[in-house]
């Protein structure tokens, strides 16, 4: 059962991400992106990353996606629901990306992961993450907070009309 | 602080140079007094160094030893012994006094003093470093400021003189570098540490380089490098020109400190590291010393330019150093190093005095003066004192060192020493003759209004005169400072020679 769900989610992610990449309608792409985000959250659950799954949903779906939708809405006339988009250098891009993908896949499939790795099921991760965040990663945490503040101010400044 | 005295005394001028660069160029007084203050502090540190220096020990003292470039076993290794301590004092002293001789330079004061301080640091570094690589770096560091100081602030032919000086020294540096690398690769483990190189001296005597005895080949390489600085006879022609064209203070430094680097290099590196080769080359060196003495004195007698005369007198005086060094006897060796110090103070005085009259009369032609003693009695008196010190009158330090070198060399190179004593007469000849033509006789009417020496110039001269006189009457402090180290050096070289059956 779990296996089945895993592969469903797996396929969901690939398909929705493909829509993001290849879709003609921008609005569709955004919604497909939501599917990807949710799928990834599901993958997190399979990886025993409960805290991350929740964070994924809260930040990505609740925050970033909304932000993206706002961005699209603000930069297009909202008269129609269909906002078409076009692409450039598709052939070359596809070629290069496929080549890269092929290289990546050969690289990671040529290695025997099964024999050398051992899965470990975390009981719950929130406590551990919290502890680490305030011990080993404290400085990183502080820097992140400053970064966020900077981003906040920067975004606000940039978005003002009279720059 | 006591552990880093040598670093301080070496790098203080670099800091000073940086500080001077930051001063606006209109603030002339700050620049000059700043330079004076920095060199003054350096002098105080140099005296401090002597006060903590253990006279009774012949070993390297006040050592600062760190790995610097471990990949090549290059070290930051400073230390002084009885050989370098007098040179450190001399450098600090002359740098300080030379600042006061620099008061009258007419352009780009900021650059001048910054370069001057850089030069000071280079010189100090040469005398304090005990790692050959470090030594070489300081050796080169000193070269560049010198080039600019002569080439920009010098006399009418300054560019020619500067280029000549630069090429000559650079040529020497290249050979020095080759010798240094040869030593590095022949030593096991590869090292630039002079003390370790000295310990391994026996193996340089046996190794083969270019199909010849490595010790001798390296000795010749180093010899040319150092000989150019001394300067020893066939390599001396940069000296009169550079001295004549350089501004007064730079002549003072050139004669007072730079020339000593050559002989210092011999005693610091060639002697202890290449002991057998040293004994092998002692006789040719003594002959070169004799040539220096006589040839320099004869050339000095022929000069009409006062500064050139003093420059050639340096060639002659350095010959005594060479002779004493080559003799490898305690008296000769101590005399040689003492002569290095004394020539530093005396020739500094002489060049300052030439500078004084040049500043006023704007020429240095010996025949163009006459009877000056009438209008500038104090100057004439001080000059007489310096000249008599220069010609080795007892009561001045130069006499003792010359006498010691001769007495020390006599048992070893009897005939050479006998001919060298002729140099004593010639020294008297050119100094007195010049003195007569400049100061005695009828007053040249052109110079009736000549100003006498002023307080600032006297301030630079009097300490030197006092030192020369004091050491002439009571040489013991200076000789005590150096004798332990030098006697050890003589002993070590001699016993290596015995072992090698020379």
């Amino acid at each position: 059962m779990a296996d089945f769900i895993f592969w469903v989610i797996w396929i969901l992610i690939v398909v929705s991400a493909g829509l993001v990449a290849f879709g003609k309608n921008l609005i569709h792409s955004v919604f497909a992106l939501m599917g990807t985000f949710l799928g990834v959250a599901g993958i997190y659950i399979f990886l025993n990353a409960d805290f991350l799954a929740v964070t994924q949903i809260v930040v990505y779906v609740g925050g970033i996606l909304v932000l993206l939708v706002f961005g699209i809405m603000l930069t297009n006339q909202i008269s129609t629901a269909k906002i078409s988009q076009s692409s450039v250098q598709r052939g070359l891009g596809l070629l290069v990306v496929l080549a890269l993908l092929a290289i990546l896949l050969t690289a990671l499939l040529s290695h025997d992961w099964v024999g050398t790795t051992q899965p470990l099921a975390f009981e719950e991760t929130a406590r551990g993450i919290g502890r680490l965040l305030f011990t080993d990663y404290l400085i990183l945490f502080e820097i992140a907070s400053v970064l966020l503040l900077g981003a906040l101010i920067g975004a606000a400044t940039l978005a003002r009309k009279e720059l | 602080m006591e552990n880093h005295l040598l670093s301080i005394v070496t790098f203080l001028p670099v800091l000073g140079a940086l500080a001077i660069i930051l001063v606006p160029k209109e603030k002339l007084d700050i620049i000059r007094w700043g330079a004076a203050a920095i060199t003054g502090i350096q002098l105080i540190f140099a005296i401090w160094i002597l006060s903590v220096f253990d006279f009774a020990s012949g070993d390297v003292q006040l050592v600062e030893h760190f790995a610097w470039i471990p990949a090549f076993n290059i070290e930051y290794f400073l230390g002084i012994d009885g050989l370098s301590a007098p040179m450190v004092l001399l450098t600090a002293l002359l740098s300080f006094l030379a600042v006061f001789s620099s008061w009258n330079i007419d352009k780009a004061h900021k650059g001048y003093f910054a370069l001057f301080l850089l030069l000071d640091a280079g010189m100090m570094g040469v005398f304090t470093s005990l790692d050959f690589f470090l030594f070489y770096i300081f050796w080169e560091v000193m070269l560049l400021p010198m080039y600019f100081l002569i080439g920009i602030w010098g006399g009418p032919q300054r560019e020619y003189a500067a280029i000549k000086f630069f090429l000559y020294t650079l040529f020497g540096s290249v050979l020095l570098l080759l010798g240094m690398l040869a030593l590095y690769f022949l030593s096991e483990p590869h090292t630039f540490n002079m003390l370790i190189l000295a310990e391994q001296s026996a193996q340089f005597g046996q190794a083969i380089l270019l199909g010849m005895n490595a010790g001798k080949v390296i000795f010749i390489l180093l010899f040319v490098g150092f000989a150019i600085k001394v300067p020893i006879f066939p390599f001396h022609t940069w000296l009169p020109l550079a001295h004549v064209e350089a501004p007064t203070a730079i002549s003072v430094i050139l004669a007072g400190v730079l020339l000593k680097m050559g002989t210092y290099g011999f005693l610091r590196i060639s002697w202890p590291v290449l002991k057998e080769a040293t004994l092998w080359f002692a006789l040719p060196l003594a002959i070169l010393g004799l040539i220096n003495i006589i040839y320099g004195a004869m050339a000095a007698l022929a000069q009409r330019d006062l500064k050139k005369m003093v420059a050639y007198s340096s060639v002659s005086h350095m010959g005594f150093v060479l002779l004493g060094m080559a003799a490898l006897t305690p008296a000769g060796m101590n005399g040689a190093v003492f002569q290095m110090f004394n020539h530093g103070t005396i020739s500094a005085m002489l060049f300052m005095l030439v500078g004084v009259v040049y500043d006023r009369a704007h020429h240095r032609d010996i025949e163009g003066f006459g009877g000056l003693a009438k209008v500038v009695p104090v100057y004439a008196g001080v000059t007489a004192l310096a000249f008599f010190a220069g010609l080795g009158l007892p009561g001045f330090s130069g006499f003792i060192s010359e006498a010691l070198t001769l007495i020390g060399a006599f048992p070893v190179f009897t005939w050479i020493t006998i001919f060298a004593t002729v140099g004593i007469v010639l020294n008297a000849g050119y100094f007195l003759w010049a003195y007569q033509r400049v100061f005695m006789g009828e007053l040249n009417s052109k110079y009736e209004k000549l100003e006498d020496i002023n307080g600032r110039e006297l301030f630079a001269l009097i300490p030197l005169a006092i030192i020369t006189f004091f050491l002439g009457v009571y040489p013991t402090p200076m000789l005590n400072l150096m004798s332990t180290t030098l006697n050890q050096l003589v002993e070590v070289v001699k016993s290596a020679g015995m072992a090698a059956g020379l």
């Binding site: 990807t36 990353a49 932000l67 993206l68 790795t117 051992q118 970064l147 | -």
Partner: protein, 101 residues
């Protein structure tokens, strides 16, 4: 689901799609979406390795920081896009070629 490679392959595909989006899309917002895909792919890798290889929570923490970074980046990028729109009336990246000469 108990094999690391299934996660890694997913991540690689996701990364490639994101890259393709970034390289080909004209619309600034779409490019931003591609970036988000790439970041998600990276996150999956981190967490997967955390479970299968290191057995510590460090990978999780890195992911947390990446998510944080993505949020910040999205905010700033959208601000830029808005600005671009205000100045030019469109947000087509291929026409913003001021870098040429």
């Amino acid at each position: 689901m108990d094999h690391l490679s299934s996660y890694l392959v997913l991540s690689a595909i996701l990364f490639s799609l994101g890259l393709y989006t970034v390289v080909t899309r004209k619309n600034g917002v779409a490019i931003l979406m591609g970036v988000e895909l790439i970041l998600n792919a990276a996150n999956i890798n981190f967490v997967a390795f955390s479970k299968f290889v290191t057995h510590t929570l460090d990978g999780h923490l890195i992911s947390v920081f990446i998510i944080m970074l993505a949020a910040a980046e999205a905010a700033v990028a959208l601000a830029i896009v808005l600005n671009l729109y205000n100045n030019r009336g469109h947000i087509n990246v291929d026409e913003a070629n001021a870098l040429k000469q």
